[in-house]
Subunit: 343 residues, 2 copies
Amino acid sequence: MSEPTLGYLDPDFVAIMDETMELLRYVFNTKNRLTIPISGTGSAGMEAALVNSVEPGDKAIICVAGFFGDRMVDIAERAGATVARVDAPWGSPVDPEDVKKAVRDNPGAKVIGIVLAETSTGVLQPLDEIAALAKGNGMRIIVDAVTALGGVDVPVDRLDLDVVYSCSQKCLSCPPGLAPITLGEKATAFVRDRKTKCRSWYLDLGLIQKYWGPERVYHHTAPANMIYALNEGLRIVKEEGLEARFARHKAAQKVLIDGLQGMGLKMVVNVPYRLPSLTTVYVPEGVDETAVRKKLLDEHNIEIGAGFGVFKGKIWRVGLMGTNATKADVVHLLAALKDVMGR
Amino acid sequence: MSEPTLGYLDPDFVAIMDETMELLRYVFNTKNRLTIPISGTGSAGMEAALVNSVEPGDKAIICVAGFFGDRMVDIAERAGATVARVDAPWGSPVDPEDVKKAVRDNPGAKVIGIVLAETSTGVLQPLDEIAALAKGNGMRIIVDAVTALGGVDVPVDRLDLDVVYSCSQKCLSCPPGLAPITLGEKATAFVRDRKTKCRSWYLDLGLIQKYWGPERVYHHTAPANMIYALNEGLRIVKEEGLEARFARHKAAQKVLIDGLQGMGLKMVVNVPYRLPSLTTVYVPEGVDETAVRKKLLDEHNIEIGAGFGVFKGKIWRVGLMGTNATKADVVHLLAALKDVMGR
């Protein structure tokens, strides 16, 4: 990341871009040509996914089972879509039956949006049935893989997911600032054939892909150093191998959950839906949750997440993502947590 | 930049954010509270400026005297504005008389957009008269300072400019990836009181300012390492002092122009409008301009810019920005240029 900044058309930089796309295809499990990092954080990835997938007036079905599902609704509406929500309680996955009903009730809807790994709840959403519903009804499916990519399977090609985006700083363990995104053939064709201009110029994939493709048409100055960092982070992922990485995330979470339950704490999410990279646990009665987090940070240099939205003040969110999804880090955390909670 | 990534609400990081805002106020010459870096490149700054300054149907007058003026028009239209253009030939500044006419012809227009330092032509646009026109007619003025900030005076408070944005990688000499932006009182009030949601969620300053302000409401994960880089770059600017820095840019350009003219080359821009940080020069007849740039890069490790748009193949654009605006670097470039051109 600290290497000298190369110009956005420097042949040496162009080679790094091409390699980064190839590495992104590896972590996304896809052959999609249009697989690039958006020059913004994961939320820019969400906006890029939505604003490039709808035209004003298009109907969109958005699944909401947490904070980031709500954000998808907000962004889709700003992009001009008419949104039909499919809600599920925070801490639970979305029920495919509810999606089926929404599809029936909203004929002509163009897209389904859903969060694979809900960072606000720790739920890993099963995608097979909902993706099949989209495919069976001629709709495109947009998947948020922000807390998933590089930590759990993101089956882009297996389920023919149309648009999938993520971020650099979670399971890829790079600095924050980039949002990997991949578009399948139908989504790419939509970008190409849309009748109205994309509402965002900065995130217009019709323009951006001409810079990342052989045309090399200038769009915006690429954040070169961030791309170096992503490139290196992706190489590390590939060196380890996706399967080994997923297994490591699962194994680390098992140690964590065993430890937390051993301390008498209760998990938020039921077994089959637990997201390996982010574990949610209820704050025990009578515990000052802010003080615990502050002490963990001040005395042990460990940061765990607060609950927000419905879960504000009620849960902790423990990220085991990328480099820190190890037994050693979990043992360290558990010891620190026992110390600050006096258990 | 390579320091460990801090969390977006880590108290140590919040202190860096506050200091960065203070340093940005210094380089922007402003007391504006809302002075922050947008989490994207300079073009994201342009989009943030426009999408936060208009509601669908608002009339905007945009001055176009080069590539980035055209981009302003495109982005303003995507944000829902109805645009009246004020054109000037590439290589010239915009004529205030033409702007006056546009103001007269477009009653009710809400904003004037203009590029202070046009990167595609090397023109430094005088702003006093045009800013006064905006002020005198109750309009807000949006100023692109991408190739200006830190290299030439950007008189935000002196002219009461409403929205001004820039980038990190030009005269501030940081890596690309952030877009400093500042909003005056009227622009901030517009953001607060608008009747429709900003079309971009990622760039919605109404939301973003609650994260950069005392509320610290999460919006998106701040690109921490990029902000470290910007913070350090701004400290270096302040250490040198703005006046000394502006003088250095001017002095370096004088050496460059004397050298180029000594080689028989012709300048694109007339004397009073020459942008110190970016000098444009015609490619002499019979010279293969691509070969010259390639040789400069391959043999001398120096990159100069090609012309684009109207100037494609016809000019070179020589950036003397931030750290490289020195006599020593200019002497080096001139020697290399003589070598590859065989002069």
